[in-house]
Symmetry: C2
Subunit: 403 residues, 2 copies
Amino acid sequence: MTDLLLTGIGELVTNDPSKGGLLGLLHDAAVAVKGGRIAWVGAESEVPAEFRELPELDCGGRAVTPGFVDCHTHLVFGGDRADEFARRLRGESYEKIMATGGGIQNTVEATRAAGRSSLLNDTVRRAKRMLGAGTTTVEIKSGYGLDLEHELLMLGVATSVADHLAIDVVPTFLGAHVVPSEYENDRAGYVQLVIEVMIPAAAGHARFCDVFCDVGAFSVDEARRILSAAQEHGLGPRLHANQLGHSGGAQLAAEIGAVSADHLDHLVDGDIAGLRDAGTVAVLFPTVSLSLQIDPPPARRLWDAGIPVAIATDCNPGTSYVENMQLVIAIATLTAGLTPEEATWAATRGGARALQLGDKGHVTPGAAADLLMLEADSYLAIPYRPGTDLVRMVIKDGVPVAT
Amino acid sequence: MTDLLLTGIGELVTNDPSKGGLLGLLHDAAVAVKGGRIAWVGAESEVPAEFRELPELDCGGRAVTPGFVDCHTHLVFGGDRADEFARRLRGESYEKIMATGGGIQNTVEATRAAGRSSLLNDTVRRAKRMLGAGTTTVEIKSGYGLDLEHELLMLGVATSVADHLAIDVVPTFLGAHVVPSEYENDRAGYVQLVIEVMIPAAAGHARFCDVFCDVGAFSVDEARRILSAAQEHGLGPRLHANQLGHSGGAQLAAEIGAVSADHLDHLVDGDIAGLRDAGTVAVLFPTVSLSLQIDPPPARRLWDAGIPVAIATDCNPGTSYVENMQLVIAIATLTAGLTPEEATWAATRGGARALQLGDKGHVTPGAAADLLMLEADSYLAIPYRPGTDLVRMVIKDGVPVAT
């Protein structure tokens, strides 16, 4: 069933500005789906004759929104770091934990040791919980392999998730996550490996290339060289920027016109102007700030500056083991100054913009029929009722998904 | 099946101080259940012969904890207040919303209008989600009826929830929630009605009496008179105290030896000493502070002063429409300065202490066999992975519950 007529939609979030307001809300609406794509959107009283015979799904007055686009995750990993979480809560800084063999290096070891079937099994389970909570598209990064074999393994596992579940996966190569311990005394050698060996090999297996450009990770010059090589191989550039300090990552994102600049916890006004002029999407992580007990990301400031904002889980075993975009919307609203409508846009259309997916995150003719029926009469319920799963039904490419 | 032998428990939270530490953690443990009660707890290698033939439930290395005791909720209500939530996020204060016909009065009207079957249906649905997320005992207050008929109706609905679900309900009379609009010009008349009519009638239907003693609600003198009358009718005293200001509620709680003082957002040192001397439990609401965008409750300060701390949802349609104690544990840990072990204790043994339930919230011989099997190998997973439902199985009085 990829043809469907949704009726009885009490409130429809279209994200279509021509419908009025940021979310383009419609009430008492209907949506026609043909071949897994949105074919028609409008008032239920005005469904065209050609769609009236489609199989009907009565939403009973409930709200319908686009599926969530979680545009930044590290979903493939071995082990967990619950002990490290407890250390952080005793007051140790993330930088200190990274410096003492914890942090990303810990997960690199566990991921290399895990083996493909274990990684795939764990990743599919995580993605299944994400899908059940409303995420219909997920970006998944490599970056815990840090050698050719394991980086390609991670990209392969990420891509394979979509063979097991009705979820779209966008794989991103993040070989430049940290310098692996075996290159501790040869940073230049690792950067060269990334540029000359890994990127050419990853090019057929990823859509984007990301670099962690920050204090303790890669410098602006290193990141520039890596992303330049990536672009030559057709991988769009993204950056982990300004998470740990005012490291120049946001400026680099603006300079090279990165698709997204992610984190942005440390910003000056010049950074913001540069990102706006470059058309870069700001990807923010309210639950990372919550988990790290730091100030929330500057969502209000970026939004008010006219920069497109996306929110995402950053799901990873260190700083935010969060799979649920409903929680991200709630925390964005309650801590980071976004209104419920802005947070809803940022979790749907914003995420799709950050992944350059023109046909996702909105409900207009031609778009993918990735839809959520809520157990509520308004999208407001998601931030209003944190901790309760309000997704009653997930529809992927026009097909109701069993979750 | 109320007899059961749980084996393969990777980590068991007993809350038994004789086992060491706050949580009395055991590893590679087993628990024997007979007649719905804990019969034996210890190392799996040491199960006594008399329990070895009980029906076995292999936990496969997972963690087991006591069921959550959500010791403060307003679970029976009509309507919702999502619009008011959106107003608050635009910057309006709770006090202003209360003063302009919103707030509790709004829910009083919707509750009076709802009718018993609608109230019961909605409350059972909320309680079912709570149970599924691990709450095996829930306190439910009246307080949206504010006349004899509807206060008794609310208490009846609360009690009836336990006829529909495997959850224990502790009903609390909260006629003194606010002064209803029809007594706007006759506060004294309403207090008299509460004392002379409602309390005697509620006595057979509730276990505790609560008063909202705060700015804009009931004064210390009014609360003292109401709780004194309640005690004469066998209802243990509780107080909503110091939520909106330094209103004297905490001092009153100490003076009368209240079972609990709830909220306590505004405290001076003298209040804390008084509560400690009185043996009053402090009931705190991390998700209310999150939802209201105010400072987190003073959990650390109270804990360090030696006061027993409980955490609860305060589930209500105005300030915290939260049903999930796993989220409360996570937010307590991430915002209010409790360690994961303290938050876990506060959500189990702390909640039971706040309701004077000696047989709940711990896993020791004689206690109720209310247990949670987690989809994780440690209780740490709950604050570490917010937004993911980590309760794999709920066991109530020794019986696995289908949720």
